[in-house]
Symmetry: D2
Subunit: 406 residues, 4 copies
């Protein structure tokens, strides 16, 4: 039974199309809607809409749903439409009038917004932990290998000497920035939409929005009710953009690891525990894990675009288009968490081959030093550069042959 069913029949084909897979996506929101509904019921009791007995019944039933869901026994089906319908339906069937009263002074829209923000806060905290764990794994790798000198690259060509510590330090610094961004974004979503209803508030009743905000751990409330709706889509995009920044760092790190572990270069060694094989070539050890981390950046980029594109050109107030921002949000969050965990495994497993690094530090990498030796003798830099440039033959370091010795 839909919340909004009245006296007519919706075409079942339209019904299936509009529900889509929303019911399945909503599974992870059940517990958040239960918590928000409990806070809402307490507030309704405080303003006299519910009696103390009704509150007790509702709170108990909502806790029961949370428990059932955790045990996999509150599975949403296509007929449920979404978690909010399923929960209100359960309460009404079990408790009668108390269930029919729970929706007083709220709209499904602010239920969705509230449950999403509660979920997002949890999800961002989880991603924050995964960022820290990967940061620690990078730190451990720097401790093991940091002092080893290796060639630094620009334009996928050897450039100047650097160290493994400096190279990996780049990604450590990137993750520290990402952690700050996660905290910043968490701050942006930390305001309660509950009580804004469909964007136009609740008539007649005096809703205590601060009370529900406090009960749910929000830092404050969203004052303008239309602005609460306006955030749908915009905030999902912000979260995905932040996930995308993390995955960007992983994409670049994966690109480095993929190139530095090409056997022809070999600075990085991927143990067999990180490699998959080929169905036809018996000798292959493939870095699939790195390729998939690299590719997931593009997946999340597309999910971000999806949200940003869906939400545009819409008249203010809720539009059903926005339902389709839920799946990319979840997909982006899941991909980010999975890639962080996978990269942590990689960082724990890789080895650095000091001999390969040493062999990579061919003589041509010292050209800049030689120019600066001339500078320290008083030669203007640009002249020193030209002098060294002319004497540095265009000699590749193909297969380890030092320049000048073909």
């Amino acid at each position: 039974m839909k919340l909004w069913k009245k006296n007519s029949e919706l075409d079942p084909r339209v019904e299936r199309f509009t529900v889509g897979n929303d019911f399945a996506l909503d599974q992870r929101l059940v517990k958040y809607d239960c918590r928000a509904s409990r806070a809402h019921a307490e507030m309704l009791t405080a303003i006299g809409v519910l009696g103390a007995g009704e509150l007790e019944q509702l709170a108990a039933a909502l806790l029961e749903i949370e428990r059932l869901e955790a045990e996999g026994r509150f599975e949403l089906t296509e007929d449920d439409e979404d978690c909010h319908t399923a929960i209100e339906g359960y309460l009404t069937e079990k408790l009668g009038d108390a269930g029919k009263r729970i929706h007083t002074a709220r709209s499904r829209n602010d239920q969705v917004l509230t449950a999403l923000r509660l979920y997002e806060k949890d999800a961002l905290a989880e991603i924050g932990k995964a960022v820290a764990a990967l940061g620690a794994a990078i730190g451990a790798a720097r401790e093991r290998f940091g002092a080893i000198e290796m060639p630094g690259y620009t334009h996928t060509r050897k450039a100047m000497p650097t160290t493994v510590g400096t190279w990996l330090g780049c990604f450590a610094a990137a993750l520290e920035d990402d952690a700050r961004e996660l905290a910043h974004v968490t701050g942006r979503i930390d305001a309660s939409p509950l009580g804004t209803a469909a964007g136009f508030g609740v008539p007649l009743l005096k809703v205590d929005r601060e009370m529900t905000a406090r009960a749910l751990g929000f830092a404050g409330v969203i004052e303008n009710p239309i602005y609460a709706q306006h955030g749908r889509g915009k905030l999902e995009a912000v979260i995905l953009s932040t996930c995308g920044q993390i995955l960007y760092d992983l994409n670049r790190l994966a690109s480095d690891l993929l190139m530095f572990s090409i056997p022809e270069i070999g600075y990085v060694v991927l143990p067999e525990s990180l490699c998959t094989g080929s169905s036809i070539m018996p000798q292959k050890r493939n870095p699939d894990v790195l390729e998939l981390i690299r590719a997931k950046y593009h997946v999340v980029l597309a999910e971000e675009l999806k949200v940003k594109s869906i939400a545009s050109n819409l008249v203010s107030g809720y539009n059903r288009d926005l339902q389709l921002t839920k799946e990319p949000l979840f997909a982006g969050i899941d991909a980010t968490a999975a890639c962080l965990a996978a990269m942590e495994v990689v960082l724990e497993g890789i080895e650095i081959d000091p001999e390969a690094c040493r062999a990579g530090l061919t003589e041509d990498l010292s050209a800049t030093v030689r120019a600066y030796e001339l500078v320290s003798q008083g030669v203007p830099f640009r002249e020193a550069y030209r002098i060294v440039g002319k004497t540095t033959a265009y000699k590749s370091t193909v297969r380890g042959v030092p320049p000048g010795k073909p």
Copy 2:
């Protein structure tokens, strides 16, 4: 058991990450891999790798898998990695050496490419049927309402008179073009990759690629084996681009229907069978079905971008990144089919309100006609335009008030 498992242990966390949800996605490819494997087995028999008895066994087992799958009894699990592994595993367990021989002269890569192309041909044919069905529904609506005059719009402002037939005829023409595109794209994928192996052919054996191509109904073979791999990603993008063109037409049609059915305009009437409600506002009848059709365009656009972005900057030959093009391909195809069907329901259900159309044809819409009346009296057009422009007060037709009567 993975096809490529040798003597070492892949880290189970890496294994889970690399498999991802590929096994679930592969469910729809099982039947196509069975067909391709049958054709491949016949060819292996023809070139002497398999005996006639082995072929018989393999063909029977592959048909059995197809049947089981159709009945929902060949469900792939995470341990299967993908459908190709599951099928080879089933054959080997059931038939022993015959099963171990089925992978002779092929790579999992060309299995994937072949199964995908077979699937895509079927999927495009299905979409073609849905396009035709929607075209017919538009045709029927034009027959019912085509003669009704209505305002044409530019810049979301009334412009000149047109008819319902001309308006809907735009989308009929668009779908005809889309149908041609579907045929064109089908032609592009109609070449067999089977036998190109991992992009470098099969050593020692003389594979008869034309034989398998014929058996599978392909129009020809892809000659260059690396080019077979190169198509991965590129062709998925082409298919999604074509789906996107269809959804673009639906997006624009949905936008028209959404605006023309705003009660304040009311040319189009959406019956209650097409409308959903609100959880808080009892009077609401919402056009969710149209909003979701509109939004799905953006979903498919993002899936297209996902494929195009994943597949870039890669060295030639297969890269595991490309595995992630499968999900957006399926998502795009499914969304397109669902939207075409939903829009067909909408077209069957809508009514045109002739009175609203008539009331919409306010006097200001005749300004261009009046200019052309002056033209037919010999006034140069640009002068006629200025004369009429000056006398046409900037009078909106707010709430049906004709210009000049405020």
Copy 3:
């Protein structure tokens, strides 16, 4: 003369292709590179690379370039390659050895990074001012019209009564958040890359990076030199993402204004000073300004995607691909500034038609209130909802006719 020209000839077709329009884009960076070069020269003097006389000469010449550029007399040409080459060339030609020494202890890469960050800080400050100005214009409009009651919409259908003040207040709140984001992003770029050279530091010399950072007004330095390079692309994307958030708000506001100013609805009146015309239809007054603001959101979204897509799958260290992030950065910043200014003009010009708003508040909008009246009599909400729902005929408010009075 290129900085890196040595003893060989680059193919002129390759030269033209690689330079592209970079020289033209660089015009706006000239002044920032002059400032950074001055700070750099002071530091080189402090560490003994330049003499006091050389510093004086360089500082004067750099100020001269800034002045010439401001007067349009330092126009970069294709032969200049970029602003850094042009400036060093000018200094060398004018000052000889002092000019040849200015590039000591730096790379063109950190010149680019430094000039960009200085530019970005200025540009973000300008956008911040434009956001504040638009916020003020919205505030003024709310003062003029805020108390007028109007219909609120969901699903592009009338929903519940709201006020012009609440509606516009949504966008005021959005811009306040945007201003906070601008400040946050400015903080992210407020660290000096100068002295990281090509990502591997400067050999032999002891560069005083804090000194140049202080002189240029940066809050600190980027410690890890590879991380300085890593920011290229990533920070441009962050800035464009922030611009995109602003344009998202304008896109939604433009969408509202476009719909609310349709004559059939007419809550908002666009004066002729905001409207353009048609070349064929004399009566047309078109809201092009709003359509272009709406469309620019998509432009900036695409520019953001461009940067994010270009910068992916690259090995760490500078890659020339990143040169192509400059144009989308500038395009996005310019579009944002232009749209903010245009929307300010719109907000100053629009009128609200109180009569149209009143006529729009049809009886059906009171359905929720009626439900809550029943609630206040003790009827459970869900029952009240059904009672009112059944008695609210599916009556549109076509052309201002109140429900029940056809």
Copy 4:
């Protein structure tokens, strides 16, 4: 003077904002609008709107504009708004009434559509020639180096032996497909929109649309006038999608060339004529040309997205948003032409190092052959695979050391 200026003043800030850089973009459309205007004038004469003398005057003046434009003496300025306004203005000033009559029976909208399609046909033909030229350069490279054996790669790891001819043949085949796509797309745009006016035809006059279509070399006319408008945006996207397919092939080829020319691998040698340098590192020879070709794929991808995103969620009929599809169209076409030409230079310049290729064919690449040797002795493939897999040590070929000899 704007075509649509009547009795009121547009705010000059709105005017500048709406014109944007359209006048500059329109420079390349001047000649096409002249041609279309000539054909239109002939048709107007045939249906009696213009006299023979007027036609002669108009035709001469339009040829003069074409000539002036070719000589750089018909430069559009911001005041011109666009090329259509400038041309009509020129005709009116020069010819009086004949100029004021040229706009009879057309709208600026169909002028834009017609000029764009004429331009697009020319542009696609040019790109077609550049594709053929690059194909020829690849063919020449295959003739020089095709027989050389080299390692084939999957997962950026050596896989099986292939030849330079097979590798480059992949891209030859890709370009052949691209040429077919260009022809197909050209067919899609080969229909005349002229005479559909603003999407609602021309009142009173009997326009001979076949006549203008023939005169302009179109294969036919677009029947449905609203569909002519509907193509705006959709066809730009199709063209950009086709450009994107070409650039995708170049992106992948550039990625191969970048990796195969890393000195550590060295199969491909880039001569100094293709390499740029570093401002700080005297020894550097960088493959910027390949990096920029690689990056331009992303630029065009973003331009395609821009068009697709701008054009969505719009009510049918022209919307000013669509003006912003012009710049990405031109940008995408220019980038494609430039990259094809640059890649042709690269293909003419590269060398293959046969010794590096030979050294790259390390023993591990023969693992598949060894498995098939067992297969030819009757061992089932999967068993042969496992036998060879176990005996192929996970030995990289770091620095050319053959496996087993560390």
